[in-house]
């Protein structure tokens, strides 16, 4: 397996700053860095997912001047996202089928995605709230990352695209089974939830009071959806100033009443249980139906940061335990 000295890797990464915009974990967010010394890992996952660099919370679609002449700027900066976890990388990949469609491709997202190299770092020590193995993935899954590095103390083991490995100068070498050992150890710590047939089970539950019962607890804030690395829903808003204006897309959340509120006053998802159903079904029924992947990567952020400790694992377990 190809490997590199950590020090050398960081030096290489440092030299790429300038040519690339480099984002890396700084405390609880993935931020743009000017030097690799700024990188600060705090806990396993950054509190805020890296999706903000693919789909910013506020993104200008176009702007216009006083004469209403429209100007568009499609992002074209080359970027590297380093240090996110494999689940976050897979989460970004899971946005592709939504935004990179044949008929209405989203140029902003596609360009960003095309110009970004994602380097994730394997989780030697997963959290209690992790449940990525339930999705057939794991703490060392390179899917979605251009390069996955595994920290062995002094070295980084690298799996990924040849081109990227060469870019950093990963050398051929023998890891002495360390990768497999780390992988086994990490995966052993993660709770696996049985998701077999979850889509059909959910579909059969959609008109029952199952969702009403579980939605009692939820206070309908947007914490889970804003911190979720796979949630992408947005709102489009115009911002007007004296010298023109801009149309901006802004993250939105299916947990808000206003999300589906129509001008007439009619709201198809006024009830809390319907919004809860939307969130869970979107991730575990609609997404598999449409794109054959789950809309969840098991990062556990929604569990750790939920104000009322709404635990999606329990919901999945309850459904999984049901007979069809």
């Amino acid at each position: 397996m190809r490997q590199i000295d950590k020090e050398k890797f960081y030096k290489e990464l440092n030299s790429l700053i300038g040519e690339y915009t480099v984002y890396a974990p700084v405390g609880d967010r993935v931020k743009k860095i000017k030097d690799t010394k700024e990188i600060k890992f705090e806990g396993l996952l950054t509190r805020f997912p890296a999706k903000e660099h693919m789909l910013p919370q506020n993104e200008e679609l176009f702007r216009w001047n006083r004469d209403k002449k429209i100007e568009v700027k499609i992002p074209d900066t080359k970027a590297i996202i380093f240090g996110i976890r494999p689940c976050d990388a897979r989460a970004i990949a899971s946005l592709d089928p939504t935004f990179n469609t044949e008929k209405f491709p989203d140029p902003y997202y596609i360009n960003r995605r095309k110009n970004t190299i994602i380097i994730s770092i394997g989780c030697n020590n997963p959290d209690d709230t992790c449940f990525c193995t339930s999705f057939g993935s794991g703490p060392f899954d390179p899917t979605g990352s251009d390069l996955l590095v595994v920290d062995t103390g002094e070295k980084f083991l690298g799996i990924g695209k040849e081109k990227i490995l060469d870019m950093f100068g990963f050398e051929e070498g023998n890891d002495g089974g360390e990768f497999e050992a780390l992988k086994k150890k990490a995966e052993g710590k993660i709770e696996r939830i049985n998701l077999a047939g979850i889509k059909d089970k959910l579909d059969s539950l959609k008109e029952t009071d199952f969702f009403k019962k579980i939605s009692y607890k939820c206070i309908n804030c947007g914490a889970c959806t804003f911190l979720c690395p796979t949630c992408y829903c947005f709102d489009i808003e115009d911002m007007e100033r004296i010298d023109g204006g801009k149309r901006v897309r802004i993250w939105d959340s299916c947990m808000f009443t206003i999300y589906t509120q129509e001008t007439s006053g009619h709201n198809p998802r006024k009830q809390e249980e319907r919004r809860m159903r939307q969130r869970i079904m979107h991730k575990f029924s609609y997404y598999p139906f449409l794109y054959d992947i789950f809309g969840c990567v098991g990062c556990g952020r929604c569990i750790s940061y939920c104000p009322v400790n709404f635990d999606i694992r329990n919901v999945l377990k309850t459904i999984g335990g049901m007979d069809e």
């Binding site: 209690d128 009692y216 947007g222 104000p307 400790n309």
Partner: protein, 291 residues
């Protein structure tokens, strides 16, 4: 005390006094209790009470408009209920309050950061508002599950400290905090007093506030939210605990509470028969700031 809560919950469910009891059960993550909704008497054994029951359960009452609700309420929860009654949101006879004297909740995130566990329950981890709490006993209740605690009057040393800073320092502190805001509105949703059908940020005509996350936008949102709670905030701290970004937003409402107390000698949510402080006035109100 837990035994008393369970027994009473079971009793009122069995006797049909209430349709459901809102309380806390053990959570699924460390140092967290989570709201639970008990509908069958035998489930009452799930109920717990500990130093990690940090949500304000009064936020759920409005959701069960057609039901009679039993609720496990500590000081601030009962004050929120009083406020909801004053503001005409619920009726006193529709809630059955199982009062719980409360010694304060612990800052779980601080404890986790320092690697503490449930055994390390210690007063030094109390949330700021709990440390200076003025109403540890429920102000109204139908049943009291434990011995009443000694009351101290509410203190605001944290606010006084901030007031003593210079203007620039105060702004620095404020902007440092709110700049982390992601506008997920967890503070609003966790607050029992934020029950508006349509929040001011959701109104698009007139549009009070744009959807951005610049300092101005998040500052305005946080100030606006706090001001809407002027003279209504029961200082339960649910907003700050709900914040996924750990923003110290309680500062603002505590400042308003302190002013309301100092200027108009009013504390929100104490007496059902009192009028809200901004719906009242006296001829002698202070006006030294007016030219």
């Amino acid at each position: 005390m837990i035994e008393n809560i369970r027994r009473e919950a079971e009793k009122i469910l069995k006797e049909g006094v209430v349709d459901l009891v809102i309380g806390f059960e053990e959570g699924t993550i460390p140092l967290k209790s989570t709201p639970v909704f008990i509908e069958k008497p035998e489930e009452a054994q799930k109920l717990v009470w500990n130093s990690f029951c940090e949500n304000n359960l009064a936020v759920y009452i409005n959701r069960f408009k057609d039901k009679k609700v039993g609720i496990v309420a500590n000081g601030c929860c009962s004050r929120a209920i009083v406020n909801l009654i004053i503001e005409g949101q619920i009726k006193r006879e529709d809630v059955y309050i199982i009062g719980v004297p409360c010694e304060g909740m612990l800052d779980r995130r601080k404890m986790l950061r320092e690697g503490k566990t449930e055994k390390d329950v210690d007063e030094s981890y109390l949330y700021t508002n709990c440390r200076y709490c003025g109403h540890r006993n429920p102000v109204i209740y139908d049943y009291l599950a434990g011995e009443k605690l000694e009351e101290h009057s509410a203190q605001y040393p944290d606010i006084k400290e901030m007031e003593s800073l210079t203007e620039e320092e105060r702004w620095q502190k404020f902007s440092e905090e709110v700049n982390r805001c992601i506008r997920c509105y967890a503070c609003r949703q966790a607050c029992p007093m934020c029950y508006c059908e349509v929040c001011f940020v959701d109104v698009n005509n007139p549009k009070w506030l744009e959807g951005g996350v610049t300092e101005a936008d998040v500052g305005y949102w946080n100030l606006g939210r706090a001001y809407h709670l002027a003279g209504r905030c029961v200082d339960c701290g649910a907003c700050e605990r709900a914040c996924p970004m750990e923003i110290k937003i309680l500062n603002l409402t505590r400042k308003l509470n302190k002013d309301v107390k100092e200027l108009y000698n009013y504390e929100p949510g104490i007496d059902i028969n009192e009028k809200p402080v901004l719906g009242e006035f006296t001829y002698e109100d202070k006006e030294d700031f007016i030219r």
